[in-house]
Symmetry: C2
Subunit: 691 residues, 2 copies
């Protein structure tokens, strides 16, 4: 609080070409699962960030033509003039807060399957698409390149018409045709667009020049460039061609937005990149080389580090995607000296998962993310209490903590009772596993807030029976009693418990998290397919055990594809010497071995081991719910979080938040909020469309 | 033509409860990738089928509540009254053609992830979702069941308001909560909804009774039931509980729509179920048991079989999904005695793939499918020629055949020149591989039509040079010269040719299709990920070779997940004794072995073999295109099909069709058609939505 002046430099205006950003907080373009399908939801989400102090707020990638059609993933579109109104809505809302609005134009080349538009995909060379769809993009000829430039020019013109201040040329994340032209493994052309670096950079140069020519009088032109691919000599490296490209194009953009590719490298999860600022070493040459305003990212949440990067001349803008999702009001909180109130990103990448899952963005830390429009939620504002009711929250895990926090903010008198000796529940337990320490922030942030509330009482070591609850005398109870991992093998593959010999020691993730480790050799059986199986195997191997990983999935931890981690997860297990037996189920458990069989048939086999860790399904803890249901003196109650439906930690915090918002709001109001939707227009009569 | 009278029985009206179908052709509910996102496209597609003579035309599954939210897959929605206009559009258009409109209400239970609505999924028991998302559905309590019944009742009322004639209760495909209640592996309840068959069928009975009570005065109530799960004793069997359920509920529905589950069993591809009528034995008891109008499916395209099934008392309605997609005018063609003109489904399941790919339905045989609204296409109507231009089509594969056919129908003077001795190109070649014989229909149907056209000349054995084309003297040339499989290993994993020892015999799918088989043992290397790698391995194993299948994918032929075949594909290879080495790439090729390495790291290994079949990438054949580009006397030309962009056969027929439609239409008109889109409404000002 006393150091506010130390951060003043973060709030200086910065000129970028013909426009001026009000401060140095810059929400770089990031996917959000809203896109062209949900313009109002998109607008409200971005505008919330502008309201929270981000001086620049950008769209996600914006397709410039149906030959870059990412369907069914919903990004932004500026295929033609009809897309202007949806984007103008966002630009207007961001600018109404005094921020600059940026738009990231893109052509995705062979990373776009064009499944909706059905146009043959385009690339520098004949090359396969990046999906399972067995189709190839075609090598662009000169007319194709001229067309592409014309589409980009038109999109830039339309972006200006929509009201944007900053317009991007985008060459990053291995998802953009401009970057594919840069890279020799994709660009094997023999014309003036192939060969030398100058030739391979020609398309980017042309797009920059033409964008400036078209709209540079009033809009800043940004280049988003990946300067390193993190593949060593197999790709572009910052100290070689990455630098050369920056030098070659130095003066052209009004702003350099630099990062590393591909997406899993740029949006590195905390499991594999625990520290903020992990890209700094690779991008730090850019500002010095170009002399232009530069923005970089690295999951920044520490204002001291931000200040240092500005003072050292590394960056002009503090770029952020995930930190702006976890806390849209991060800049305002720094401005107000409320550093401890920043809701820090935990780097779990659930936000990123929503892009591939095709649904609006969500966040483990910030349950209001993605709900700004359809539910009218804001992370910093909540309706005051509707009555003087007193509430008891049973269970201090993620759902209980969030529920108590929001009820406290509404002004209710809240008691939070945790059975164990520590608050945090699964978030705390899981944070003790290898790579997941940052997840503890889910607990720390909430406990920090809760401890400041005079109307909230916090108790640990307080296991409650139905009688205890009845005698406590509150008006309403929220049951956030969590879930436990099953040890009986029931899961996706087995709908009934497995036949297990009593002599085989069985463990669950709960045992491992509690520090109860088996003796090896151990089989970890994953029939859950989330992140847990891979984490447990990695954790046990690091503890020195010999581990065999058996899974009914064909890859390790398939859900982690969505969080951009899967390749690293499986590589980690391989490099730890863990034996993998994939597409394999455990059919039976003997005294000193498990019997495995292929999920696609084939012979059974026995696998000797001294212990078996089951990562299969979970059982919600509804003991107290059932007891209260039987108990005459019980107050009204409802179940939240894993006790209702075991899921991600993000599901738990959302569930707790939703329950707190809906408390005493009336079911009708709660449902009305749920149902706010964006739908395509329907003509009043179809007759003209019948054959 | 002479037998038309023999099919009269197919055109009898059939009463179903309070409504009467005009004939026995019944388009059962089927997914189409349009759903709530594309109401106008959906309407035009269904209305085209009604215009083609289908007496009943149904929607796809229609979610009755946000707790059955299949996002991002776009099915229909009837969450509340706001969804009525979109569905009324379809019902009105179908009924305007004299057909009945049916709607399939559904609650998907734990098969719905509720990723958009974020409601905890519902199921008879606590059970994992059926996706990689690590979340569990919760066991429904009594209030949940009452809620579900109320949602279904409201949806039925709204379906009637939207104008539907037939309203479904849906219990099939392992995707419906009503079926989950029926099945002991999901229903482990101890209340009156669990235990006995009567108890497990209680929910279906209640929904049927309540739907009849609500709307039965004017709407027929149908039950779609899977009577056999095709999993033997592990699931419901037609001769045991399947029959018992039918007997138990016999009198309740006005119509029985019966099939087998799950979806891959019901929509069996021709590769694994070559004959039509493959479900008949399992469903034939239903009509006799219930005495109610009964509809069944089985990829029916033969009118003689249809008549037999009616006369034998097996069915009252000829149900169809895929045959109605391949030929929306199938009923009219039978009525007109034009049996040979029926465009028969080839059972490739590309239609089904669109549901999971999240884009509008398409069809290998019928390129107009899914394009009825946005491009205004109809399978039986096409604009007449715009001039007296003469055209040459070079290449008689799928793209060339389709292009020539549609140009011929437009009235142009067309010459089709095929270099080889037979028409058909890749469709013919691939039909010679194990399981793909039905794909030959792509050729047969088109050749049949083309041979009847006086304005089309067909030539085989006619390889053409640029000079030949110039001397031929046409006004325009379409180049449909196809593509060839590469043998150099360039593909997804290797962007440059592999280092191959000359002593190792290399083969491609083209060799195998031409009958040039290697000597074993052979390695099939799949870096394509489509269907081809698995087909080649299976084909070679059947030829008696010892085969090892190496793939960079984690499963065999991942694309076949979308065509509902993947499990059968991989099981077939396992049961053929083929060794699988998945998530593995070929790093180098020696004289008598290949060096493999894991795509996730680990040690390299050598695999001894006598031959290597590369299934990696394809090279478009653009020889003639380049020659024409250099040749002064060349007419105008354009490239279509695999020569432009190698893909599926469905991509090739679409490409040929599109080119024929757009010929002399002008680029502007062609682009305008492409761009017709359905977009969400955008308010004129966003100011009220900013924070």
């Amino acid at each position: 609080m006393l150091q506010t002046g130390a951060y003043d430099i973060l709030f200086e205006p910065v000129q970028v070409g013909p426009v001026t950003a009000p401060n140095r907080f810059y929400q770089v373009p990031h996917a959000c699962g809203m896109g062209h399908l949900r313009p109002q939801a998109h607008t409200a989400m971005r505008a919330t960030k502008a309201a929270g102090g981000w001086g620049v707020v950008c769209t996600e990638e914006t397709e410039i033509h149906p030959s870059s059609d990412l369907s069914p993933y919903s990004e932004q579109r500026l295929w033609d003039e009809r897309d202007i109104p949806a984007l103008a809505l966002m630009a207007e809302a961001v600018k109404a807060q005094g921020s600059l609005a940026g738009i990231e134009l893109v052509h995705n080349g062979h990373m776009a399957d064009n499944l909706y538009s059905r146009i043959p995909p385009l690339a520098p060379l004949d090359v396969q698409l990046d999906s399972a769809y067995p189709k190839m993009a075609r090598a662009m000829d000169k007319q194709d390149i001229r067309d592409l430039r014309a589409w980009h020019r038109r999109a830039a013109r339309n972006a200006k018409a929509a009201g944007f201040d900053i317009v991007y040329v985008y060459a990053g994340h291995n998802m953009t045709i401009t970057q594919h032209f840069l890279l020799p493994r994709y660009n094997q052309r023999s014309d003036e667009y192939g060969g030398s670096l100058e030739n391979r950079a020609r398309l980017i140069r042309e797009l920059l020049e033409e964008t400036k020519e078209e709209i540079g009088d009033s809009c800043a032109v940004a280049l988003r460039l990946a300067v390193d691919e993190m593949r060593g000599e197999d790709g572009m490296q910052a100290h070689e061609e990455g630098r050369a490209v920056v030098e070659h194009l130095a003066a052209l953009p009004d702003l350099w937005d630099v990062n590393v590719s591909d997406w899993p490298n740029d949006t590195l999860s905390s499991r594999f990149g625990p520290d903020e600022g992990y890209e700094t070493d690779l991008i730090s040459f850019v500002k010095a080389t170009t002399g232009k305003p530069t923005v970089g990212v690295g999951r920044f949440t520490s204002p001291d580090l931000m200040v240092r990067l500005i003072r050292q001349g590394v960056l002009d803008f503090i770029g952020a995607a995930r930190p702006s999702i976890a806390d849209p009001y991060l800049p305002n909180k720094i401005a107000e000296g409320r550093i401890d109130a920043i809701r820090e990103c935990i780097g779990c990448n659930i936000c990123a998962s929503c892009d591939a899952l095709g649904v609006p963005i969500r966040c483990t830390q910030n349950p209001t993310m993605g709900e700004e429009w359809r539910r009218g939620w804001n992370p910093e504002h909540i309706a005051p209490k509707a009555s003087d009711s007193t509430v008891l929250v049973v269970g201090g895990g993620p759902a209980g903590l969030e529920c108590a926090l929001q009820l406290g903010r509404r002004g209710y008198r809240v008691t939070l009772a945790e059975a164990s000796g520590e608050f945090g529940g699964r978030a705390l337990r899981e944070s003790r596993l290898k790579g997941l320490s940052a997840w503890r922030r889910v607990v720390d942030n909430r406990i920090y807030e809760l401890r400041q509330m005079a109307n909230v009482a916090l108790y640990t070591d307080s296991a409650l029976s139905a009688e205890d609850v009845g005698e406590f005398g509150c008006d309403h109870v929220f049951l956030a009693t969590g879930a436990a991992w099953r040890s009986d093998g029931t899961g996706r593959s087995h709908h009934f418990p497995l036949d297990c010999d009593d002599a085989m020691p069985l463990f669950t993730p709960d045992d491992i998290m509690a520090g109860r480790l088996p003796e090896g050799p151990v089989v970890v059986y994953d029939d859950d397919h989330g992140y847990m199986g891979g984490v447990i195997a990695d954790h046990l191997a690091e503890s020195g055990l010999r581990v065999t990983f058996v899974s009914t999935a064909s890859v390790v931890s398939p859900f982690t594809v969505y969080t951009l981690e899967q390749e690293r997860v499986q590589r980690a297990l391989v490099s730890a010497g863990i034996e993998l037996s994939l597409s394999t189920s455990v059919a039976a458990v003997g005294p000193d071995s498990v019997t495995i069989e292929g999920v696609y048939g084939g012979a059974r086999a026995d696998l000797a081991c001294s212990a078996l860790v089951m990562v299969s399904a979970r059982t919600p803890d509804r003991t107290l719910e059932h007891a209260l249901g039987q108990y005459a003196g019980a107050p009204t109650f409802e179940v939240v979080g894993d006790a209702l439906s075991p899921g991600l930690i993000a599901d738990a915090t959302f569930s707790g938040h939703l329950a707190a918002r809906n408390f005493e709001a009336g079911r009708e109001q709660a449902e009305a909020a749920l149902f706010r939707r964006e739908m395509p227009a329907v003509p009043s009569s179809s007759r003209s469309d019948t054959p």
